[in-house]
């Protein structure tokens, strides 16, 4: 009996973000006739979602291990700035530019993981918050705090990923990339040994350690992968923004956290799915897009997004309470 009940509410919780997204669509369709439901606008939403989707996929791993990666925004910006600086110094080979951005960001992630696991810092909040400022500083340092423009500088193949659309209806390449990445993540998290280990380390680090899983190595890999995703996001950013500008990272980290939490991840770790994260990211961009069409400025957008984040964490807390009750019942049986 009890089992059935929790299962039903579990499903409702899982469908939650999808239902909210559907309601959003209905509301915006009615209130914004002829503006919201247009192929061009929908493709625009996808384009706006790409960056958050890519960054959030790495954030998801950190959250599954009951951690957090606060450095993602500036790690991605650092990658973009690096492309800009290398370009200014005459390197225009797209492969070299893309690879160096990804390698540097991956290394940044590896440092995050190493600080956490080898220095025994109490929580990744500490290591990644610290590194966020370090990355920010380095980005400012290498760019001399200047904005670097990418237009007509001979690196269009790099920009192509973030800018180009394909098919007659203008499907963004960047979102195609997201779908590929997410499919890989789905396999990685559900069907690879390392993926299952990430869930287990998050769900119960001590049980994982006593089962012979090297929790520290798993954590290091998680933060390295998060850095890797930031590198890819940095490349996409270059094409999307057409500039390398340290000021543009403002909300990437919080957006990513919000996407994961809305999508079913928990600060307590051990759970979260990649498709849920995509839904969470889509929900955030849809709200932004709709409010934009209402000509609501940044002010209103920030307020609404803030409330959505709080609502999402409230859902997380409620979910936790329900689980605690289920656990109690299981114990009483």
């Amino acid at each position: 009996m009890n089992n059935k009940k929790t299962n039903v509410s579990d499903i409702l919780m899982k469908l939650g973000p999808l239902m909210v997204l559907a309601i959003m669509f209905v509301v915006f369709t009615i209130t914004l006739p002829g503006k919201f439901i247009r192929v061009a606008n929908l493709m625009n939403i996808l384009k706006q979602t790409s960056i958050n989707c890519i960054i959030a996929s790495g954030m998801l791993l950190a959250l599954i291990t009951a951690g957090i990666d606060l450095s993602v925004g500036y790690n991605a910006i650092l990658a973009t700035c690096l492309i800009g600086v290398l370009m200014k110094n005459g390197i225009t080979n797209p492969v070299v530019l893309i690879l160096s951005a990804i390698v540097v960001s991956t290394l940044c992630g590896f440092i995050n993981g190493t600080l956490l696991t080898r220095l025994d810092l109490p929580h990744p909040f500490v290591s990644t918050l610290g590194m966020k400022f370090v990355f920010w500083g380095i980005a400012l340092l290498i760019t001399n705090s200047q904005t670097i423009g990418f237009t007509n500088k001979g690196i269009d193949p790099v920009l192509w990923i973030g800018k180009q659309t394909i098919f007659s209806f203008g499907f963004p390449v960047s979102f195609l990339l997201v779908i590929l990445i997410y499919a890989a993540y789905h396999v990685f998290l559900n069907h690879s040994a390392l993926g299952r280990q990430i869930y287990c380390v998050g769900g119960n680090p001590e049980a994982a350690r006593m089962s012979g899983i090297r929790s520290k190595d798993v954590l290091t890999i998680v933060y390295t992968l998060s850095g890797f995703m930031c590198g890819i996001a940095g490349v996409v950013l270059a094409g999307r923004l057409n500039t390398a500008n340290t000021a543009s990272a403002a909300t990437y980290d919080t957006d990513a956290i919000a996407a994961c939490i809305i999508g079913g991840a928990s600060f307590r770790g051990g759970k979260g799915t990649i498709w849920g994260t995509m839904l969470g990211a889509l929900l955030i961009s849809t709200i932004r897009n709709g409010l934009n069409l209402f000509s609501a400025g940044n002010d209103i957008q920030y307020i609404v997004i803030g409330l959505v984040i709080i609502a999402a964490v409230t859902i997380d807390v409620m979910r936790g309470k329900m689980e605690a009750r289920a656990r109690k019942m299981a114990m009483a049986d």
Partner: protein, 501 residues
């Protein structure tokens, strides 16, 4: 005015599936030191928690100085004058002594702010009456020794004018000198008319200190006697005196080669020169009181905790088990006593938990072989008779016995040679216990080496081929099945520090 400062009558406390305390009664006189003893799981902790308002009993009455009371939370018990110094001290290590003494209480000045000069003075006075006139109340508690931290706890109790002070294993983490000081303090408190309920595993302390003693067993009151009328043997008999029912389907394997040999395992303050050998085809049991160092021995040889010295040999080969992952590769499986905290990932499915300790067996390249995992999990569910709706069920939803079987399945998947089962039947029902024993029989018949840590003597006597008794980090005795010492009384005697002749 009643004769007793605290009195319990017909108190029963139930938990889902078990009765932790049945029709318990105890009377504590003002200004007496009252000993409380019993085996592990005899119900001492439950009694303490009922007295301190942590547990609310279903039946029975509690009287404080003749007045009937009922506690629904610890604050009410404290206000009634019952204080407790737990084994795990409730000290905030970062805060100075004065704040710890005044935790949950305050003295304010006329501006409504804390009156620290007065608080320091009173904390100092309280500590002075406990025999520590030069205590520095500004010092961080975490920087004090264990004995002094305990004094801070006692000062806290004294300063709320406790009438009854419960001390749970107060000497277990103290050095010899500190124990002497503590005993002196306890006697001083008695002189001031404060009653002490002194819970200890050390009989000699009880004889030295206590006026009367109460023995509990299986959640029930057995006897209360003047200490002067008691002897060591009488106490032990009262503690263990139950009959052995035949719930142990013991089968015998063929004793094989020496699989595991530990020499001089040492861990400062925990293990003192622990040496033993374990053979294939036999069950070697580790008996002793809680905190005797049995689990610590297992954790150390499994690489979960660091060793300060000693050698480990597996099949004659010296090994270096620096972490659990290495030990598992060396053929050791370790079923931990805390299955929820260290055994299972509760938020994951039965089948994921089953492969946790040996994912390599189920991998093809970096990917997992889903079909084989499903077949394996289904096979385990069948052979271990795990009651679960499916292998996809999260383990959180299973009952204790079935959770334990999932952990056992996990370790069987490791194809280990040496199986360490730490309290394998704790908190599971009788039917599941028998099934766990059958798994143990099966492993032994396959020639595996099985080490069982158990705090339940009937289980030790029922299943073991050989018993090692530990006490305070040392091996006290080694008893073969069939020897004249292979009985409850002698094992208990060794566990309590007595000599076997």
């Amino acid at each position: 005015m009643s004769e007793y400062v605290v009195e319990l009558k017909h108190v029963t406390k139930r938990f889902p599936g078990v009765i932790a305390m049945r029709d318990m009664h105890i009377q504590i006189r003002p200004g007496e030191i009252h000993g409380l003893v019993g085996e592990n799981g005899a119900g001492k902790s439950t009694l303490i928690k009922v007295l301190t308002g942590v547990h609310v009993p279903e039946e029975g009455e509690i009287y404080v100085e003749g007045k009937k009371v009922s506690f629904s939370n610890p604050v009410q018990a404290r206000e009634a004058g019952i204080a407790c110094v737990y084994q795990e001290l409730n000290i905030v290590p970062m805060l100075p002594v004065v704040d710890n003494v005044f935790m949950g209480r305050k003295i304010t000045n006329k501006y409504g702010l804390l009156d620290y000069p007065r608080m320091h003075r009173e904390a100092k006075e309280a500590l002075a009456t406990l025999g520590h006139p030069d205590a520095d109340t500004k010092r961080e508690c975490g920087k004090l020794g264990m004995g002094m931290q305990q004094m801070v706890e006692i000062a806290k109790a004294v300063s709320i004018n406790a009438k009854l002070l419960i001390m749970d294993e107060p000497t277990s983490s103290l050095g010899e000198q500190e124990i002497k000081q503590l005993m002196k303090t306890v006697r001083d408190l008695k002189e001031r008319g404060i009653a002490i309920l002194f819970v200890s595993h050390k009989l000699e302390e009880l004889f030295e200190l206590c006026d009367r003693v109460t023995v509990m067993r299986d959640g029930e009151h057995i006897i209360t006697e003047d200490m002067a009328n008691m002897t060591n043997d009488k106490l032990i008999q009262a503690m263990v005196g139950r009959t052995l029912e035949n719930q142990f389907p013991k089968e015998f394997g063929v004793k094989g080669e020496c699989m595991l040999k530990c020499e001089h395992l040492t861990s400062i303050g925990v293990l003192k020169d622990v040496s033993f050998e374990a053979y294939g085809g036999e069950i070697l049991a580790f008996a002793g009181l809680v905190g005797a160092g049995r689990t610590e021995t297992m954790r150390a040889l499994f690489g979960a905790d660091k060793l300060d010295g000693g050698d480990i040999y597996i099949r004659g080969q010296k090994v270096n088990n620096r972490n659990p992952s290495q030990s598992i590769r060396n053929g050791i499986a370790f079923l931990t006593e805390d299955r929820k905290g260290q055994g299972l990932v509760l938020s994951q499915s039965v089948k994921t938990n089953m492969i946790l300790a040996n994912m390599k067996k189920f991998m093809k390249g970096p990917l997992l072989k889903s079909k084989q995992i499903e077949e394996n999990a289904q096979g385990m569910v069948d052979t271990l008779r795990i009651k679960t709706p499916s292998t996809e069920e999260v383990t959180m939803q299973l009952s204790g016995g079935n959770q334990q079987k999932v952990v056992i399945g996990k370790w069987i998947n490791c194809d280990a040679d040496i199986y360490i089962f730490d309290e394998p039947t704790r908190g599971i029902d009788v039917g599941a216990k028998v099934e766990v024993y059958n798994v143990m029989n099966q492993l032994v018949k396959e020639g595996k080496c099985l080490i069982m840590v158990s705090s339940e003597l009937p289980e030790v006597l029922g299943m073991a081929d050989r018993v090692i008794v530990m006490r305070e980090g040392r091996v006290m005795a080694e008893i073969e099945r069939g020897s004249k010492h292979f009985n409850q009384e002698d094992i208990m005697r060794a566990a309590w520090g007595g000599a076997l002749t």
